[in-house]
């Protein structure tokens, strides 16, 4: 295998870990409440802008920006849950899709109106230079993003499977009434799930803000990526999202390198359609 190819694959894996991180948020909410957040990609976009604003106002690198973006987005998640999701959850499918889709537009165009359509970017060396490992050249910002995203995604999996909070959330997902009888408040658990899901997007946004172009419409592409990841990995499964996220990162990088940068999104979308045709239950999921 040629050397450049290895470089491309490593780059894809690092980006794929970030995809996995924000997709875990989508899969959590989808699996727990059976609601799909069409604004999920725009949450990531918001995280990018928070990191950018923190940098321009306060300076400081991702050490300051990432936790703040996580906190801001987690708050946004809770507000959105109580103001909108709690009510549309019980409504018809039309209301659910319209509600979160409208939210996506609201966020996207508020940012567009405030910051304009121009591409913003962080200074190139905000995290550090470029490392060389055995001939591979990896930008520090991408390495940081990939490693942190991977660790947090694994942490999220442990939180959901190994802690009492995780068990309570699972209980609510299984049967709200039964959970309530056991003294678990579904409302609180679902709000926490939204805080975690949106917080994950905030962190992911702050991490990729260091090397992505920051632009209001980026949320649309990222939202589809998250959706494809979750469909591939199976709903509610964080490990599924991790594997699928890494896979999509690699496929995207490879197709960008082999076919051309403008076609990398098309490849992901077409892959999604092929999956819907031939394997709608996802790679490892069951219907």
């Amino acid at each position: 295998m040629s050397f450049v190819l290895v470089q491309v694959i490593v780059g894809g894996l690092l980006l794929g870990a970030v995809y996995a991180l924000f997709s875990s948020g989508l899969t959590l909410v989808w699996g727990m409440m059976n609601i799909v957040n069409f604004a999920h990609g725009d949450f990531v976009m918001l995280g990018m802008y928070v990191a950018y604003v923190v940098y321009t106002l306060l300076g400081g690198g991702p050490i300051l920006g990432a936790p703040l973006a996580t906190l801001v987005l987690a708050t946004v998640g809770v507000v959105v849950y109580f103001a909108l999701i709690r009510d549309i959850m019980k409504g018809p499918m039309l209301a659910q899709i319209l509600g979160t889709f409208g939210l996506a537009l609201l966020l996207r165009y508020s940012v567009f109106w405030w910051f304009g359509a121009n591409f913003l970017s962080m200074p190139p060396n905000i995290v550090g230079g470029t490392y060389a490992f055995a001939g591979l050249r990896i930008e520090a910002s991408r390495l940081l993003a990939g490693v942190v995203a991977l660790l947090v995604t694994l942490g999220l999996h442990l939180l959901l499977t190994r802690t009492s909070l995780g068990s309570k959330m699972l209980a609510v997902a299984e049967d709200q009434t039964a959970a309530q009888l056991m003294g678990i408040r579904p409302d609180t658990m679902q709000a926490i799930a939204w805080a975690i899901a949106a917080g994950a997007t905030g962190l992911a946004g702050a991490l990729i803000a260091n090397f992505f172009y920051i632009v209001p419409t980026v949320g649309e592409t990222l939202g589809i990526v998250a959706f494809v990841t979750v469909s591939l990995g199976g709903f509610g499964s964080v490990p599924g999202a991790l594997v699928a996220g890494l896979l999509i990162g690699v496929i995207e990088s490879l197709s960008g390198y082999l076919i051309g940068a403008i076609y990398k999104d098309i490849v992901v979308y077409v892959l999604f359609l092929l999956f819907l045709w031939f394997r709608p239950q996802g790679l490892m999921g069951k219907m």
Partner: protein, 323 residues
């Protein structure tokens, strides 16, 4: 009987409008309302009646628009000849999206529609044969009447009115046919409908194809009126948003809902654009987003359902569904 009176009043207003309010701006506004009403009514067939929320409906609009302009640019024919081609293209794409996704939960369908619209936009933007980012233009000087290229908006107004009437007639006929009964049963409970033998996936697919065909006609009309189409006006997500929000605001699943939505939103957008200039584009869509959220949260049936709910509570399109 009361319905018939209402209907004739609406029709009379629609026919008289461009004669009473005859400034070019008002006539153009009227034509645009009707154009978007056609597209939104077409969306309504799949989004309202079949309950499958297409958020990438512009893809069919683009098929029609590109087919119409393509038949002129590539073959020197009148844009009218492109309409059948656009319909075939749109129905084919609808099958590609619909066959796999309409078996699954509605989220997949919605997301697949966005993915396909984005794919088409990216492909068309990068295809030189289709004019790439510049798009295709129609005849600059009309060669004969079949080019449908007029300076005044008046001929477009009546053409669009006719097509809208046909679209609404098709929708009305559909709701009263066997297909309409199936759709209503599926929307109430797909499981129950299936167990009683209603072919759920196939019926939804037919509704989607019908909707796609009509939307592509709307796209062709749009391209003829504006004389050009580019990737943003043909496949941009904002057109999908407009189509969707007009139907949802007026009342998804109600015959005249989309027309009401278009009659409110098109003037609103024209006015906000002329007031705010370029800066208005972003703000208009902030407002659209807010409107959609508010409808979803408080009145998922749309504005018209405020009036129809009392008389027909069982046909409620969604508001107040207790779990």
């Amino acid at each position: 009987m009361r319905r018939l009176i209402w209907l004739s009043v609406v029709a009379a207003i629609a026919i008289a409008y461009p004669l009473l309010l005859s400034s070019p701006f008002q006539q153009r506004l009227g034509a645009l309302v009707l154009l978007y009403a056609i597209a939104a009514s077409a969306w309504n067939i799949v989004g309202g009646y079949a309950g499958q929320v297409s958020v990438g409906h512009v893809v069919f609009f683009g098929c029609g628009a590109y087919a119409a302009m393509g038949s002129y640019v590539k073959f020197g024919l009148s844009p009218l000849f492109g309409i059948p081609g656009g319909i075939v293209l749109a129905v084919g794409l609808a099958a590609i999206i619909g066959v796999p996704t309409l078996r699954l939960s509605g989220h997949y369908f919605s997301m697949a529609t966005i993915a396909v619209a984005e794919t088409m936009r990216l492909i068309v933007t990068n295809t030189d044969w289709l004019g790439a980012a510049v798009g295709l233009s129609g005849p600059t000087v009309p060669r004969n009447i079949f080019d449908l290229s007029f300076l005044s908006s008046l001929p477009y107004y009546y053409l669009f009115l006719l097509i809208l009437a046909i679209t609404l007639l098709i929708t009305w006929w559909m709701t009263n046919s066997r297909m309409g009964f199936y759709l209503r049963a599926i929307k109430d409970s797909e499981r129950a409908a299936r167990s009683l033998g209603a072919p759920a996936s196939r019926t939804k697919l037919y509704a989607y194809m019908l909707s796609a065909a009509l939307t592509s006609v709307a796209g062709a009309l749009y391209a003829m009126m504006f004389g050009f189409v580019d990737p943003e006006s043909g496949f941009g997500i904002l057109i999908s948003v407009k189509i969707l929000i007009m139907a949802a605001l007026g009342g998804a699943g109600l015959l005249f809902g989309p027309l009401v939505g278009a009659a409110i939103l098109v003037p609103l957008e024209e006015i906000s654009n002329s007031w705010l200039g370029g800066k208005g584009a972003g703000l208009t869509f902030v407002l659209y987003g807010a409107i959609i959220v508010v409808i979803a949260r408080f009145q998922p049936g749309g504005l018209l359902s405020l009036f129809t709910r009392r008389s027909k509570p069982s046909k409620d399109t969604g508001a107040g569904h207790a779990p």
